[in-house]
């Protein structure tokens, strides 16, 4: 009977593609990570764990891990907090919520690479608009006093702003102390709107009667109601938003490749960029594969943490 075999036609293509395009590459990467393989060279040597050894011992790769983790630790908390804050504010507005929602979501839709180039212009140390605005504040007495802290009696030169007014404002992407933070800023700018819509969806799924019950129970302040109802009810959303933001920010590439190429002095040398540079540009496929495997390990850990939190939660039927 036809029906007993027809499913093979339905699942066959998907299985073949999953195996060939997702599972097989993982194995290829795993195998190549123990070799010194490169394209154009017919033979290769097994070199054991040498690639992994390099990853943990060479300072370049230490910088890579530092850059990636710092980036994630900057972007995830801030973009999640901004997303939640924006969602809470927008949900409580009487008018105009839709407008803010559209505006904050705009960067999610826009081509990141293109917007990164615009940010690069905006952050240009000399002609860029950002430093221009910051500089213009130096000449306005009260603003300078406020931002430099001298209104509190501090020495303006001791503060970041006062010091920058006297010397000059940072080079941003060209300064190794600022580059990663600047890249992270663009990441936050681009990503928090996504978190915001996830939180807004989470908020609409909180039953209104729970808030009313909290009112009746005596949760009089907005903070009490947030603690008693909103925050616990957003539990699943929190887990999801944090995981997806982490995985997304681990994958940061566009901004780094277009704006800093990992520099200055490897301060923005994040994992996916390292993978690209070693593997594709320098044809060092062994070390590139090793980075791939470590990267997959990170993603797996993040996902397992998510699964753990999701399963621990008892859902409200």
């Amino acid at each position: 009977m036809g029906r007993s075999r027809v499913h093979l036609w339905f699942i066959g293509p998907a299985i073949i593609l999953m195996m060939g395009l997702l599972i097989l590459p993982v194995f290829v990467a795993a195998v190549l990570s123990f070799t010194d393989y490169n394209l154009g060279n017919p033979s290769f040597n097994w070199i054991g764990v040498e690639n992994y050894d390099r990853l943990v011992s060479r300072s370049t790769y230490k910088k890579m891990f530092t850059a990636s983790l710092t980036y994630v630790l900057l972007v995830v908390p801030i973009s999640v907090a901004l997303g939640l804050g924006a969602a809470l504010l927008i949900a409580s507005l009487r008018i105009g919520g839709e407008l803010y929602k559209a505006v904050f979501f705009l960067p999610v839709m826009a081509t990141l690479l293109a917007m990164a180039i615009v940010w690069e212009f905006a952050l240009h140390p000399i002609v860029g608009v950002v430093n221009d605005i910051l500089r213009s504040g130096c000449d306005v007495g009260w603003l300078h006093a406020l931002l430099s802290g001298s209104w509190l009696g501090g020495d303006p030169l001791q503060s970041w702003y006062g010091h920058a007014c006297a010397e000059d404002f940072p080079l941003w992407l060209g300064d190794k102390n600022y580059a990663l933070g600047t890249i992270a800023f663009i990441g936050i700018w681009q990503g928090f709107g996504f978190n915001m819509v996830l939180y807004l969806a989470g908020l609409t799924s909180v039953p209104r009667e729970l808030y009313q019950a909290a009112h009746m129970d005596g949760a009089d302040s907005a903070w009490e109601r947030f603690r008693l109802v909103t925050w616990p009810m957003l539990g699943p959303t929190n887990v999801f938003v944090v995981t997806i933001s982490s995985i997304r920010s681990f994958q940061v590439f566009d901004t780094v490749e277009a704006l800093t190429r990992g520099g200055p002095s490897k301060s923005t040398y994040v994992m996916v960029y390292a993978m690209f540079e070693k593997g594709v540009k320098q044809n060092l496929l062994g070390i590139g594969s090793a980075i791939t495997i470590v990267f997959l390990g990170f993603v797996l850990i993040l996902t397992l943490i998510q699964v753990y939190f999701v399963n621990r939660r008892v859902h409200y039927a």
């Binding site: 507005l93 505006v103 615009v118």
Partner: protein, 298 residues
């Protein structure tokens, strides 16, 4: 909960959100503004949003030996004509459309029957296949770009449209999303179709596909946005062949080709590439946000 409005609170909320909105919109404003202004105005940050639009002379045009009067133009005209003449922008855009549409169509062709089988057919090994789908969800395609690149290079497919499309033909996420959606379709509907004499193929395309339109639309938005904007994968597999470049990659090439002060044409090109999605988004805002949320939340 009391219906009385707290006007002070409302004012403070709007102030905070407005400040955020200004930062969010700043690059969009700059992009549009720079694409309209002359190089001098951009460098000195003068001229407001549109600039003075004084006639300027196109130096490249002079170099090309054309008469001077043909080379005098308004900055806005200069910027946009330069963008289109200096880079094959139209070609990039067509590539982008071709690649994103191909990816989406193939993803649906592969995912829909599979999702149907996983949700509505009973066969030996079904749970194993679904387990495989779940497992594959853990693998971000960007993470395995390197081995995929090696494999494509080995079969000589780098620098082809195929290389841009093949890795994305399987969307385990699409299968998962469709399966979850099909689980909510009553079995009776399928049994009724079988009683009417439809084959399993006909059921997939004539019964399941129409019911899945909302989910497909959401998935389509997700897929198109992701691949139109994708820069990483094209950067890996397309090296040098401009005829194959997608918009972000083309823009990147444009940027490295230009010398320092060609901000105007650069921003004009950026505007042209960013604008289509932004306009569609603004027109169908609600659908986009719902679609992204729906696919985002699984």
């Amino acid at each position: 909960m009391m219906a009385r409005t707290n006007w002070l609170g409302e004012f403070l909320k709007h102030s905070v959100l407005l400040a955020g909105a200004i930062v969010v919109l700043l690059p969009f404003y700059l992009m549009l503004s720079y694409s309209l202004k002359s190089p001098a105005e951009i460098e000195s940050n003068t001229g407001g949003f549109v600039g003075s639009q004084e006639i300027m002379t196109d130096r490249r045009c002079i170099k090309a030996g054309k008469p001077a009067e043909e080379c005098d133009m308004r900055p806005i005209v200069y910027n946009y004509t330069a963008a289109f003449s200096e880079a094959p922008l139209v070609r990039y855009m067509l590539n982008g459309v071709f690649v994103t549409v191909s990816i989406f169509v193939i993803q649906v062709l592969v995912a829909l029957p599979c999702a149907y089988a996983l949700s509505k057919l009973k066969f030996w090994g079904r749970d194993v296949v679904f387990g495989l789908v779940i497992f594959c969800l853990l693998i971000p395609v960007h993470a395995i770009a390197l081995p995929l690149y090696i494999m494509l290079a080995k079969v000589g497919l780098t620098n082809t449209y195929a290389a841009l499309i093949i890795p994305w033909t399987i969307s385990v996420f699409g299968i998962f999303l469709m399966r979850q959606f099909f689980m909510t379709v009553p079995d009776d509907l399928i049994d009724a179709a079988r009683m009417d004499g439809m084959s399993e193929f006909a059921i997939v395309w004539r019964v399941m596909l129409p019911t899945a339109i909302p989910a497909l639309l959401a998935f389509g938005i997700f897929s198109v946005v992701a691949h139109w904007n994708d820069y990483y994968w094209p950067r890996v597999v397309i090296t040098g062949n401009r005829d194959l470049m997608t918009p972000p990659l083309g823009l990147r090439m444009f940027k490295s080709d230009l010398d320092g002060n060609e901000y105007g044409p650069m921003m004009a090109a950026t505007t042209v590439i960013v604008l289509p999605l932004v306009i569609i988004f603004l027109l169908a805002q609600r659908r986009f946000i719902e679609g992204i949320t729906m696919t985002g939340m699984k």
